[in-house]
Symmetry: C2
Subunit: 92 residues, 2 copies
């Protein structure tokens, strides 16, 4: 492989990875949930939550807005450290 | 530009965008928050929340885990539909 074609190959891969890194930086968080809904806001009344509610924070749960441990698979795929949000009654 | 060089250019861009799309599909959600923390879990006692708590769901808030409306900028950048999670006392 001549110098010019290997350096142009290098440029191609640098371009590709720059795009990839840039894309990762401005990528969507929600890839599958209610994509036809322009704004996904959830509101809960504390009185309705029972002793504890575990909310999904990784946007991969099949039971969204509740956690179904999909963050484990997301962590394996990406190394991400997102885990659920827990709202609970004080232990008495 | 000869046929071969334009088609190879095309291949390069297809490769770049495939990588970019693939990257977006497996991109991290949390880009900046507590990156030295292997698992970001938050737990709150309802009794401590006052009348309402608005939790960040886009992982861009400077007041994480609470919402600071950073989802608006994230929406403009990506078109994403993620918005906050609200836990509140029933209106009396």
């Amino acid at each position: 492989m001549s110098l010019t074609s290997s350096s142009s190959l290098q440029v191609e891969w640098i371009t590709a990875f720059t795009i990839a890194a840039g894309t990762a930086a401005i990528a969507m968080i929600n890839l599958h949930i209610q994509k036809d809904n322009p704004k996904i806001v959830h509101a809960f009344d504390m009185e309705d939550l029972g002793d504890k509610a575990v909310y999904c924070h990784c946007w991969r749960s099949k039971k969204f807005p509740f956690c179904d441990s999909s963050h484990t698979k997301h962590h394996k795929q990406t190394g991400d450290n997102v885990r659920p949000l827990i709202v609970k009654k004080k232990e008495t």
